[in-house]
Subunit: 168 residues, 2 copies
């Protein structure tokens, strides 16, 4: 199992998350002869400002402020599509939002734990889950191509807060 849940849900040196993500992105783009242009890198950086997914129009606002000029939706969607293609980010369908991938080079489960309170979202890669879904698909003669697994609930911090307020 591979997850960034401890980082996501606990105080940490987030600049290391950002740096790691940008380094991965540069490597991957070099490998695949893909161009990490200024816009694309900015969008990736914006998504890595936190561990909470951002919607396209939130990205638009932020990029617009960053560049101090108007930015059109198409600009965002193009950058997002590029990053999705490369696996540098993921789309969270239930939120219509996007989030940086913490391990773009690893096997994926496309499994996310989404805090419905604070929005923080951790990714999990888990072979057992993948194997189980594959075997369920096999039994149904369903040719599995991809998956989107979204868990909703409370992150450790928000669970603790809820616990406190119900006790106090």
């Amino acid at each position: 199992m591979l997850t960034n849940s401890r980082l996501v849900h606990q105080p940490h040196d987030h600049s290391r998350c950002i740096n790691a993500a940008l380094a991965s992105a540069n490597n991957l783009c070099a490998e695949k002869n893909a161009r990490l242009t200024a816009t694309r890198e900015s969008v990736l950086r914006l998504l890595w400002q936190s561990h909470q997914p951002l919607g396209a129009y939130q990205l638009q606002d932020r990029l617009s402020k960053l560049l101090n000029k108007p930015v059109a939706p198409a600009t965002i969607y193009r950058a997002v599509d590029f990053l999705l293609q490369l696996g540098l980010i993921h789309r969270i369908a239930s939120l219509n939002a996007y989030i940086g991938c913490p391990f773009p080079n690893s096997e994926h489960s496309n499994l996310f734990m989404i805090c419905t309170d604070c929005g923080s979202t951790a990714e999990v890669a888990h072979n057992t889950i993948n194997d189980l879904l594959q075997s369920i698909s096999d039994k149904a003669h369903f040719t599995l191509k991809s998956q989107s697994l979204e868990l909703f609930g409370l992150c450790p911090q928000c669970s603790a807060d809820t616990e406190e307020s119900s006790n106090g």
Copy 2:
């Protein structure tokens, strides 16, 4: 494990699916003192016309034709919200679409196998999956409240078609 995948992916007497769904709906509404009004029942029937999810505006078109009068989006979303609340239908987030639930009274995994070719969508309830997701959540101290699991691929029929055309 509980699934309607055989029904979904094979020729069958679909009127039985419809009748079962409507009977379940009536029972559930009676139990919960909820009113299955004409609009709500029509929307449920429309969703049960096939095993493929329908979007809100597809429902709007169809209900409009059925009633031979204009229908506003709000009408559809209200009916859909009602049916979702009762668990009579599900929302497929990746498709922005809705589908009837084949076993509204059972434990759920909210797991769907979606054919990217023909759109047919089967639901699966599977304790092992649920247990595994629960244990992953526990390890991460994540308080799991709900989940949305979507598998994309080819249904048996479309798999067979693809196989044929690649052979021929």
